[in-house]
Symmetry: C2
Subunit: 149 residues, 2 copies
Amino acid sequence: MPESQSAVDEILTTIRDASRRVTVPKRAVAEALAGANGHLTADAITVEVQRHHPEISPSTVYRILEEFEELKIVVHAHLGRPAAVYHLAGTVHGHLTCHVCNTTFEIPAAHFNTLSRDLKKSFGFQLDRHHVALSGTCTNCLASSRTEV
Amino acid sequence: MPESQSAVDEILTTIRDASRRVTVPKRAVAEALAGANGHLTADAITVEVQRHHPEISPSTVYRILEEFEELKIVVHAHLGRPAAVYHLAGTVHGHLTCHVCNTTFEIPAAHFNTLSRDLKKSFGFQLDRHHVALSGTCTNCLASSRTEV
DNA sequence: TTAGATGCAAAGACTTTGCGCACTT
DNA sequence: AAGTGCGCAAAGTCTTTGCATCTAA
């Protein structure tokens, strides 16, 4: 997995550049984020991290995620459920969550260009394109609800 | 306040139509929702309700909000913070939350027409227009950040 | 009358914090 | 060697649940 490896290196470099320390737990969280290309709750990250390093505690994961957010390494969003989901910044832009099957899809920021311009013009509101999280129904669930009923 | 009164009546009618019982706590929650024209957390609703009925417990408020959601009386959204916010369904469409001053604005659903069509066409995703919650920076905070720095 | 709703208290899910020791730099 | 970061455990916030009682219909 050469590409997720480079993503990990990039994260570690960012940490060093900010004069923070590179530690085993931080490396593990970076690997978990780079390995899973989707959205992970803090709990899911903890589980993944503990597969290799059982001694790493949830509180450490939260502290690291907080630091990573400061450094713009990750962003988080609150989707349908209370638990927030985290993912690497820059790699992802918008989220579509299906409230039927609870799956989250990622879509390119370009889809928000028109909306973003409109909100700016109409309300002076500057959309944060990293946090766009929309809920609705995905294709699959639309199709099955049609056939089922 | 004749207009919020009619909103309350409408809610109570919906409850009766669904063969649920109309109770003091439900009336109080309905009044809190109709009175505040904005977005309330469950906690804020509880506080408002307890101003008139101190004996009503938070768990009851949660149960009532759950029932109101089933009956499509209210919808909730997860904005920047973990706590969900609730508001009357039908009266509101989209939310813009400023992550600087933490204010939430409501905007008409019409602003999501283009986006909605695009998501449907590109991904087969049916946007739920009641749950649109976007975060960014509002005009005021944009202006002050410009002058401050 | 009687099933459903409530109040209270406890538990559960998610997240933050305090403290002393370990590890990175 | 110096001091940041960690593990553990406890606390904090937000929400759900169990159970006995009460009440709307």
